[in-house]
């Protein structure tokens, strides 16, 4: 069971070329979402996409650049919600670029989903629900 979203992709381009596709709004828009991102620590920006009512998300992600190491690392926080002030998405996206075999290995980690991961971890790691079902079964038999 996956708790953190983690993907690695290899590109035959240099880290500088891949970096541009992560940090220049007109290039980011081509493959990800419309945005006003800038690779400056503390910069506040947004991603605009279609609303997803099933997931309590109105399509606007409010982000802040956390860390910039040019051509090596970029991270930002992303928050969003249904548009009534509640925040249901509170996460961190980390991009790492590694020069490798005449190209670039790009790694994405999307983590920190507020409380959601903790809850899933608790539920899965304790297997509490299974234990409890057995206990309830015993109680029913005993009553």
């Amino acid at each position: 069971m996956q708790k953190i979203i983690n993907h690695k992709v290899f590109f035959s381009q240099t880290p500088e070329e891949v970096w541009a596709y992560l940090t220049r709004p007109e290039l980011v828009e081509l493959w990800l979402m419309k945005t006003d991102i800038q690779p400056t620590e503390g910069h506040q920006f947004q991603f605009w996409t279609r609303p997803m009512p099933n997931f309590d998300f109105d399509g606007n992600a409010y982000c802040t650049v956390l860390e910039v190491v040019p051509f090596q690392k970029l991270s930002y926080s992303c928050k969003g919600g249904p548009g009534d002030g509640r925040i249901t998405l509170d996460s961190v996206v980390v991009w790492t670029l590694l020069k490798k075999d005449n190209g670039t290995e790009l790694e994405l980690v999307h983590s920190g989903f507020k409380e959601v991961e903790n809850m899933l971890m608790y539920n899965i790691m304790n297997e509490g629900w299974l234990k409890n079902m057995n206990k309830i079964g015993e109680l029913i038999k005993a009553s």
Binding site: M1, Q2, K3, I5, H7, V9, F11, S12, Q13, E17, V18, Y21, L30, W31, L32, M52, F55, D56, R86, T88, L106, L108, H110, F113, E115, V116, E117, M119, L120, Y122, N123, N126, G128, W129, K131, N132, M133, K135, I136, L139, I140, S143
Partner: protein, 107 residues
């Protein structure tokens, strides 16, 4: 008055309800013994229990005179679906980026 149904995120947004789920992850509890862990009225505890039940996080079973609460998978599955959605989202987007960069190479 009937409680409006809350979704999985609204359910876990409340610290008391999270605490209830953590306690129930350790062992199943009666509503009375669950209430002993909280500095709130019994009706307030019952209200939270109803919300947890309504969103599929717990099941309630009457055994004798007591109501026993235990964790249920459904509510947690809704949260997992959400994570899975984002996982697929990134897989698709990264494919798109790969395609873009490959085309750039050919130019």
């Amino acid at each position: 008055m009937a409680q409006p149904a809350l979704d999985a995120f609204q359910v876990i947004a409340d610290p008391s309800r999270r605490q209830m789920l953590y306690l129930l992850a350790e062992s199943s509890l009666t509503i009375n013994s669950l209430a002993e862990n909280f500095d709130m009225s019994r009706p307030a505890v019952s209200k939270h229990v109803k919300i947890l039940y309504g969103a599929g996080f717990i099941s309630i079973q009457d055994i004798g005179r007591e109501r026993h609460c235990s964790l249920k998978q459904d509510g947690f599955n809704a949260l997992q679906e959400w994570i899975n959605y984002f996982d697929k989202f990134w897989i698709n987007k990264l494919k798109k980026l790969e395609h873009l960069l490959n085309q750039k190479n050919k130019q």
